[in-house]
C-alpha cells in the first residue's frame, strides 16, 4: 500500500510539472518575436531602397521610359543628370505625376525590384500642409489601408518644387520712353517790326530748318499790328505758297485810334501743313509783309509762332555742352523817299541757374543804316541796360558785342535783348530801308544772331528712373486784361516752365505768380514798350506744386486800348514722371512676365494720364529667365508595409 501511495504521489508531481511546463510554453508569442524581427528587416529594406533611389539619376532608369518622359513633358536632356528625387519633384511640379509613378514603379518594382514583392509600398511628396500620393502598389495611401500590420518609412528632402508650379520662370520689368520718331517744335516770332510813315512796308522773314520726313501738322498763330487803310495789302507767304494772308482765320480784331489815325491789331490762325509738307525736310521760309500807317510802325505782337509736329529720322548730333546760335529774323523796313522808317527786334535769352556761361555774343549786321545827325542810330539794350549806342554807324554796320557778363549775371530768368536801328520805341527817323540782316540758310556767318555757350552738367537734365514730359495748358476763356490763369500741378515735380503770351496789343507787361497761400512774386516786367518776348521762362520754384491754385497773372498797363491777353496764351511745363517698374512676380512664360510688367507700368503712368497720351509712349520690357523659386523643402517619403 505504501508503494502505491508513493507511485501515485510521483505521478501527481509529474503531471503537475508537465502542466506547468505546458502552460509556460503556450504563453510564448512566437508571432511577436518574428514580427519584430520582420519589422526591423522591413525598415532596413526601406532605408536601403531610399538610399539607392536617392543616388540614382534620371539616366539610370529604363531608357524607353526616360525618352518618353523627355518627349512628353517639360523635362529635357539637360535633366538626365539629375537625381531621381529631383526628377520626381520636377514631375510633381509640372503636374506630370503619372510619369513620376512610372519611374517609382520601374525602380522599386519591376525591373528595379528595390522592394521585395512580399511588401507593399507607396511614394508620396509631403509638404508642410499637403501630401500628394505619387504611387502606391495597392492604389491607396497606406494610412487608409484597412489591414496593415507594420508600416515603416524613409524620407529624403527636396527643395525648389511646388505642386503644379513651374520651378523656373521669367521675371520682367518695363520702362517707358518717348517715341522718338515724332518730334514737335515751336518756331516763334518775337516782337519785331519797322517802317513808320504810311505807305511803307515791314518785311519779316523767318527761316528755319526741319529734319523731317513728313509734316503731320503745322499751325501758324499770327498777331500783328498794322495799318488799317492798307489792311488788304498785307501778305503772308509760306515756302512756295504764294500769298495766303486771305486764309488766316482772324479770331480777334481791334482797332486803335491815335491822333485820329487808325491801326489794326489782329490775331489769327492758319493751317500751313500742306505748304511745309511740299518739301518737309530742309529749310523753310515764312515771310510776313505788313503795311504801315501814319505815325505808327507796323510790327509783330507776342504770340506769333509756328507749331510743327513732324516725323523724323534725325541723326542725333553731339551736344556735350550748350553752344548755339539764335538767329534773328530778317527785318526790312521799306519806304519810299524820305519817309520815316527803321527796324527793330527783340530776342529772349535764358540760361539755366546751374550753367556756367562761357560765351554770349551778339553779332549784329544792319544794312542801309541811315546816319541821322545827333541820333544814336544803333541802340542795343540788355533788359533795361543800354549796352551799345552808335552814332554815325555807316550804311553797313557789322559788329560783335560781348554779352557774357550780362548773361552770367542774370541766369534763371528771361532776359530781353533789344536791337534798334534808326528807331527807338515809337520814335523812327531813318530815311533809308534799314534792315536787320539774317539769312541762316545761305549766309549764316554774316547773319545777325546771338551766340550762347555754357557748360551745364547733363545730370541736371536727367533724373534716374524718370523721363521728362511736357504738358501744355492753354489759358482758354476770353480775351481780357489782366488775365489770370490758375493751374494745379497735382504735386508733380516741375523741372522748367515757359509762359507763351499772346496779345492783341502789347505795351508794358507784368507777369506775376501767386502760389497757393503764399506771396505773389513778380517774374517778369517789360523793360520797354513792346519788349515782351513770345516765351518767358518761369523758375519752377515760384510754384507750389503740392497745392492747387497757382495763379499766373498777366497784365498790361496799356494806356489806350485793352491790350487783351488772349486765350491762346499757354503755359508749357516739363515734369519728371516715373518711367519704370522693377522686376515683379515670376511667370511660366516670357510673354506672361512681359505683360505683367507692362500692366504695372500702365498703372504707374495712369496717375499722369491727364498730361500724357499714353499711346505715344513706348513701353519696353526686359526679361530674365531661368529664375528659380525657393519652394519647399518637401519630403519625398517611401512607406513600406506588410498587410
Amino acid at each position: 500500500m505504501m508503494k502505491g501511495f508513493f507511485f501515485t504521489m510521483d505521478a501527481l508531481v509529474a503531471i503537475t510539472l508537465l502542466s506547468v511546463a505546458f502552460g509556460v510554453v503556450l504563453s510564448i508569442d512566437t508571432n511577436t518575436i518574428s514580427g519584430k524581427s520582420n519589422y526591423e528587416q522591413m525598415h532596413y529594406v526601406t532605408e536601403d531602397a531610399m538610399q539607392i533611389f536617392g543616388k540614382l539619376k534620371f539616366s539610370d532608369i529604363n531608357e524607353t521610359l526616360m525618352n518618353s518622359i523627355i518627349s512628353n513633358t517639360n523635362l529635357t536632356t539637360d535633366d538626365t543628370s539629375k537625381s531621381l528625387p529631383d526628377i520626381i519633384g520636377l514631375l510633381w511640379a509640372y503636374n506630370e505625376t503619372s510619369y513620376a509613378a512610372d519611374i517609382v514603379s520601374d525602380v522599386f518594382s519591376d525591373p528595379g525590384q528595390l522592394i521585395p514583392k512580399n511588401y507593399d509600398y507607396a511614394l508620396s511628396v509631403e509638404e508642410t500642409d499637403n501630401k500628394t500620393l505619387i504611387y502606391s502598389t495597392t492604389g491607396i495611401d497606406p494610412k487608409n489601408e484597412p489591414e496593415l500590420d507594420y508600416l515603416t518609412s524613409a524620407s529624403r528632402i527636396v527643395s525648389g518644387y511646388q505642386e503644379n508650379t513651374a520651378p523656373f520662370g521669367f521675371v520682367s520689368r518695363a520702362w517707358a520712353s518717348k517715341v522718338s520718331k515724332n518730334a514737335s517744335k515751336v518756331f516763334e516770332f518775337n516782337p519785331e517790326g519797322g517802317s513808320y510813315d504810311p505807305g511803307g512796308c515791314a518785311y519779316i522773314n523767318k527761316k528755319f530748318y526741319l529734319n523731317a520726313t513728313e509734316i503731320y501738322n503745322a499751325t501758324m498763330h499770327i498777331s500783328v499790328h498794322r495799318g488799317t487803310s492798307a489792311i488788304n495789302s498785307n501778305s503772308l507767304v509760306v515756302d512756295a505758297s504764294g500769298d495766303i494772308i486771305g486764309d488766316v482765320n482772324w479770331l480777334y480784331t481791334q482797332q486803335k485810334f491815335e491822333a485820329g489815325k487808325a491801326t489794326n491789331m489782329d490775331f489769327g490762325v492758319v493751317d500751313i501743313t500742306d505748304y511745309l509738307n511740299a518739301s518737309p525736310g530742309g529749310w523753310h521760309e515764312i515771310e510776313i509783309m505788313l503795311k504801315s500807317q501814319d505815325d505808327f510802325n507796323t510790327h509783330i505782337h507776342p504770340g506769333t509762332k509756328v507749331e510743327v509736329i513732324y516725323g523724323t529720322e534725325e541723326e542725333r548730333t553731339f551736344t556735350g555742352n550748350y553752344a548755339k546760335r539764335k538767329y534773328f529774323d530778317n527785318v526790312l523796313s521799306d519806304q519810299s523817299g524820305t519817309k520815316k522808317r527803321g527796324a527793330w527786334a527783340i530776342m529772349p535769352i535764358n540760361v539755366p541757374k546751374a550753367a556756367t556761361v562761357k560765351n554770349a555774343t551778339l553779332h549784329l549786321r544792319a544794312l542801309n543804316v541811315f546816319d541821322a545827325a545827333g541820333k544814336e542810330d544803333i541802340q542795343i539794350y540788355f533788359n533795361n541796360n543800354s549796352i551799345l549806342n552808335v552814332t554815325a554807324p555807316g550804311a553797313t554796320y557789322d559788329a560783335y558785342i560781348n554779352l557774357t557778363d550780362y548773361v552770367a549775371a542774370n541766369k534763371n530768368t528771361t532776359n530781353v535783348l533789344s536791337v534798334y536801328v534808326n528807331s527807338f520805341e515809337n520814335d523812327f527817323w531813318g530815311e533809308t530801308d534799314a534792315e536787320i540782316y539774317s539769312d541762316p540758310e545761305n549766309d549764316e556767318n554774316s547773319s545777325s544772331y546771338v551766340y550762347i555757350e555754357y557748360d551745364w552738367s547733363l545730370e541736371n537734365k536727367f533724373q534716374y528712373g524718370y523721363i521728362e514730359v511736357t504738358a501744355i495748358e492753354h489759358f482758354d476763356g476770353i480775351d481780357e486784361n489782366p488775365k489770370k490763369f490758375v493751374e494745379d500741378f497735382d504735386n508733380h515735380e516741375i523741372t522748367s516752365a515757359y509762359l507763351h503770351v499772346a496779345q492783341i496789343d502789347s505795351e508794358n507787361v507784368t507777369v506775376t505768380v501767386e502760389p497757393y497761400d503764399q506771396t505773389k512774386e513778380t517774374v517778369f516786367i517789360s523793360q520797354r514798350v513792346r519788349a515782351l518776348p513770345s516765351t518767358l521762362y518761369i523758375d519752377p520754384t515760384y510754384f507750389n506744386t503740392t497745392r492747387e491754385n497757382n495763379t499766373i497773372n498777366v497784365s498790361d498797363i496799356c494806356l489806350s486800348l485793352k491790350c487783351s491777353v488772349l486765350p491762346q496764351s499757354s503755359l508749357e511745363y516739363n515734369i519728371f514722371i516715373p518711367s519704370q517698374v522693377g522686376y515683379g512676380a515670376m511667370f511660366d512664360t516670357e510673354a506672361e512676365a512681359n505683360q505683367d510688367a507692362q500692366d504695372r507700368l500702365n498703372d504707374t503712368l495712369s496717375a499722369y494720364a491727364d498730361i500724357l497720351d499714353l499711346g505715344i509712349y513706348l513701353k519696353k520690357p526686359i526679361t530674365t529667365g531661368n529664375i528659380p523659386w525657393m519652394y519647399g523643402p518637401a519630403f519625398i517619403t517611401l512607406e513600406v508595409w506588410k498587410s
Binding site: 508513493f6 510521483d10 508531481v13 509529474a14 510539472l17 506547468v20 511546463a21 509556460v24 510554453v25 510564448i28 518575436i33 519584430k36 519589422y39 526591423e40 525598415h43 532605408e47 531610399m50 538610399q51 536617392g54 529631383d86 509631403e126 508642410t128 515603416t152 524613409a154 524620407s155 529624403r156 528632402i157 527636396v158 527643395s159 525648389g160 521675371v171 520689368r173 520702362w175 541723326e315 542725333r316 548730333t317 553731339f318 551736344t319 547733363l458 545730370e459 537734365k461 536727367f462 533724373q463 534716374y464 528712373g465 518711367s579 519704370q580 522693377g582 522686376y583 526686359i622 530674365t624 529667365g625 531661368n626 529664375i627 528659380p628 523659386w629 525657393m630 519647399g632 523643402p633 518637401a634
Partner: protein, 364 residues
Amino acid sequence: MMKKGFVYTMFTIVAVSSIFLVLALNMDKTSTHTTKIIEKIRADEVHYLVEGIEKDIKRSGEISGRRALLALINWEISNGEFVNVANESVKEAIINGTINNGNENLTLMENNTISDWMQTLETLAKKRGLKTTILIPNTTVSMESPYTLRVSTNAHIQAQDEIIEVSYKRNTTYSNIVSVDNLEDPFITVKSYGYAKQNFIECEKITGIANSGDWVYGFAYITDENNLLNVTDKADKVLITGTVAGKSNFNGFAGIVTEQNDAPTAPPYVFNVTNAKNIILNNSIMVIDNETVWLTNITTQPNASCYFNKRDAPSFLSRLEGKNNTDNDLGIAAFIHVPSLPVEMQSGSDTYVIGYEYFEGLFD
C-alpha cells in the same frame, strides 16, 4: 527504495526548474531587443534626415544665390544706386533677404532665403517629432569666373529626436556656383540713367593657337586678297584671312586672325583659328583676347549686345558696386549703341563704344 524515489523526484524538479528559468530569461531579452529596434529606427531617421539636409542645403543655396543676385540688381535699378560692398550684400541677401545691414527688405527675396528654407524644414521635421537646428556661421562670396560667383558656406546641422533623445550633428562646407547669365547689368542701367539696358549674355567665341597675347577690337574684314594697300580705315578693322603668307600691306590693321599658322606679325594676331572666315560675320565687331576671338555679331545696325572678357574691365561684383575697374582679372565688357541714347548723352563720333568706359566719363 524510498530514498531512491525521493532522489529521482528531486532531480526531476531541479531539471524542470532549470528549463523554466532559461525560458523566462529569453522572454526578457526579446522585450529589450524590441526597444532597441525602435531606438535604432528612430536613430536612423535622425541620421538620414541630417544626411538629407546636408545634400539639400546645397540646392537651397543654388536657389537663394540666383535669386539674391536678381534681388540686388532689382534694388539697384529701381533706386539708381549701387551697394557698398557687393559680396557682403550678396551674402546678406541670401541669408536674410535684406540689404544695408537689415535696414531694408529685398522684396524679391521674400520666402526665398536660406532662413526661410530652414524654417520650412523645421516645420516638416516637427511633424515627425524631430527638431532641426541649422547654423550658418560663415558664408563667403567671390568671383569664380567672369560669369559665375562662388558662394561657400559652413553649416552646422543638428537633428534631434525629442522622444528617444537621440541627436545627430554634422558640420559641412559646401559651395554653389551661381551664374549671372541673362541677368541685367545694373552698372549700365544706372550709369545711363536707365536709357541703356543690357543683360549678361556671353558672346560666342572661337579660339586659335598661336597668339600675340593682346586685347584689341575692330570690325571684321574678311578677305583673301593679297595686296591690302587700298583697304581704308585699317586701324578700325581686324583682318580675317586664310593666311598672311604672300600678302602685303597688312600692317596697320587693328588685329589679324588667320586660319593657318603664320609667322608673327606686327599687329596683334591669333592664328590657327579653324574655319574663321566662315564663322565670323563680316563687318561685325569682334574682340581678340589672347587666343580667344569673341564674336559680338554686331554690325552697323543696333543689335542685342553680348559680353566678352576684358581683364581690366569691372567684374560682376565690381559692377554691383558701380566701380569701373576690378581687383581681379575677371572683368567683362560689352558694346553699346550710342545713337540709341538720348541726344544729350551722345558724345564722340563712334557708333559703338565699350559701355563701362563710355558712361564712366560721360558727365565729367
